[in-house]
């Protein structure tokens, strides 16, 4: 069974979590161009590598950050969000 470590609840089955996608800076919708907004809404970095992602432990509704290697399918580090993109 794959596991994920919630920074609050410790290691749990990964089926208890949901991935919220890579952490990305949001352009200001009031000032950015339509192209920049479309790029933010749709485009993703789909290549393999180590990514910083939002994850949520569903039973406790704890959102946190996970660093995950998407090529090797391993979670490197998890921690609570402390600001910054």
């Amino acid at each position: 069974m794959k596991r994920m470590t919630c920074p609050v609840n410790g290691p749990r089955a990964i089926s208890e979590f949901v991935c919220g996608g890579e952490i990305r800076p949001m352009p200001d919708p009031a000032t950015c161009s339509d192209d920049e907004w479309a790029d933010y809404v749709f485009n993703r970095n789909g290549s393999p590598g180590v990514k910083r992602e939002w994850w949520c432990h569903l039973p406790s509704n704890t959102w946190f950050v996970a660093e995950r290697d998407t090529a090797r399918d391993v979670v490197l580090r998890t921690y609570l969000y402390a600001g910054g993109a």
Binding site: V18, C19, D35, A38, N43, R44, G46, S47, P48, A71
Partner: protein, 413 residues
């Protein structure tokens, strides 16, 4: 013993030509280079040579042909999609499938079974009705049927699904079929090879040269090539190739898993899909049950499968067919599905001149192998998007004009 077999047994050298010619080295230049020797890349090569007389072409495959998603898929062929763009496109593919075996002189084991999308909720029944109406409008054979029709076609089914999720009806699509995936890759490969296309296996593309916004060449693990046209048909590796030419896209890679059981007596003729239980099943000519589920829920670029998948799939399969509890699982595997936000493919010209994309095939691209090959060959030959793919171009995202196909493509691949 058939005579052919005897000939093989007695001969010291291989008595028949192999499926393809082996080329010792790459030429310095080609009119077009196709990256990816899956069904899509090989089909494009075949139609380029057959219909457009362009045969100074090479197909570069980093592993062996058909070893990607083509050889990992559960081979469901159908055209009961939701959007007019999708319905017309997949319908043309179903038409092309019909005489493909003749074309290739190769048995593709194309087997017309009929396809049920089971509805366990009112919402699912409503989507079925919607799909049926769109389909009928375009002359495609789809209808909403009641639970008794499901029971008649699959007598072993438990319509109550153990009481959890009783089946209220289904979308029935008579043209639904399965085919032998490897044979499709080999058939297109052999047909292209005989018309002069070079297939290079174990040849990985490492870089693409672009000058002044135009493609000029391709760098590979076996040397460099100059060319003005490149078709990228690499499914789960698409983002890596797009990085080489600096194109951004919405494609992310998620594993899609499947499994087969040990062979059992034929008992299941149609293909059954349940969106609510997230499973689907068909029985192969060998008697194996071919079963799949929905996508893994987060991004991973690897083809390892998991125990969670087998357990989840088996649990829901037993809701539908409790008598399968004694049947053993024989194999399980995963492929890397190139997913798009609207569950439609991304095809055609790109901002880089001479660089063409055939991707975003996610969990649904096997059935489209013939039509994507045909339309991409046309697009390459004329440097203009084929009329059937204009709803699938990359710039639909920039223009906020998505082709919402999720209702028809999410579990029923």
């Amino acid at each position: 013993m058939p005579l052919g077999l005897l000939r093989f047994a007695l001969s010291k050298t291989h008595p028949e030509p192999r499926m393809f010619t082996r080329h010792d080295r790459l030429k310095p230049a080609y009119d077009a280079v196709i990256i990816g020797g899956g069904g899509h890349g090989l089909a494009a090569a075949y139609y380029l040579a057959r219909d457009h007389g362009i045969s100074n072409v090479c197909v570069l495959e980093k592993g062996y042909i058909g070893g990607g998603n083509t050889g990992r898929n559960t081979t469901i062929i159908r055209s009961n999609y939701l959007t007019p763009e999708g319905v017309k496109f997949y319908d043309e593919s179903v038409r092309l499938w019909q005489d493909l075996a003749q074309d290739f002189d190769l048995n593709l084991f194309y087997s017309n079974r009929g396809h049920f999308t089971l509805a366990h909720t009112d919402a699912a029944l409503r989507t079925s009705r919607w799909r049926a109406e769109v389909n009928k409008h375009f002359g495609i054979d789809s209808e909403v049927v009641g639970p008794e029709a499901v029971k008649k076609a699959a007598p072993m089914i438990d319509l109550a699904c153990g009481g959890h999720a009783p089946i209220l009806g289904a979308l029935y699509h008579a043209p639904g079929a399965v085919a032998r995936h490897d044979a499709v890759a080999w058939g297109y490969g052999r047909g292209a090879d005989r018309r002069g296309v070079e297939i290079h296996q174990r040849t990985e593309v490492l870089g693409i040269d672009v000058a002044g916004g135009k493609v000029t060449g391709v760098r590979t693990s076996r040397g460099n090539i100059s060319t003005g046209k490149v078709l990228c048909a690499v499914a789960g590796s698409t983002p890596r190739i797009l990085d080489m030419v600096g194109i951004r896209s919405p494609i992310t890679i998620h594993p899609l898993q499947a499994m087969v059981s040990e062979p059992v007596k034929p008992w299941l003729d149609p293909i059954l899909v349940s969106g609510s239980l997230h499973v689907y099943i068909s029985q192969s000519a060998r008697g194996e049950l071919i079963m799949g589920a929905s996508l893994d829920p987060y991004e991973v670029q690897s083809t390892r499968s998991t125990l969670d998948f087998t357990e989840g799939l088996a649990t829901h399969m037993l809701d539908l067919f409790p008598f399968l509890s004694n049947v053993k699982v024989m194999r399980q595997w995963a492929g890397m599905a190139d997913m798009t936000p609207d569950f439609a493919p991304i095809m055609g010209r790109t901002p880089v001149e001479g660089f063409y994309l055939d991707a975003g095939w996610g969990t649904w691209g096997f059935k489209a192998t013939p039509v994507s090959g045909k339309t991409m060959a046309h697009t390459l030959a004329h440097d203009r998007n084929h009329a059937l793919i204009t709803g699938f171009t990359l710039d639909r995202f920039r223009n906020f004009e998505l082709t919402g196909e999720k209702g028809a493509a999410s579990v029923g691949h």
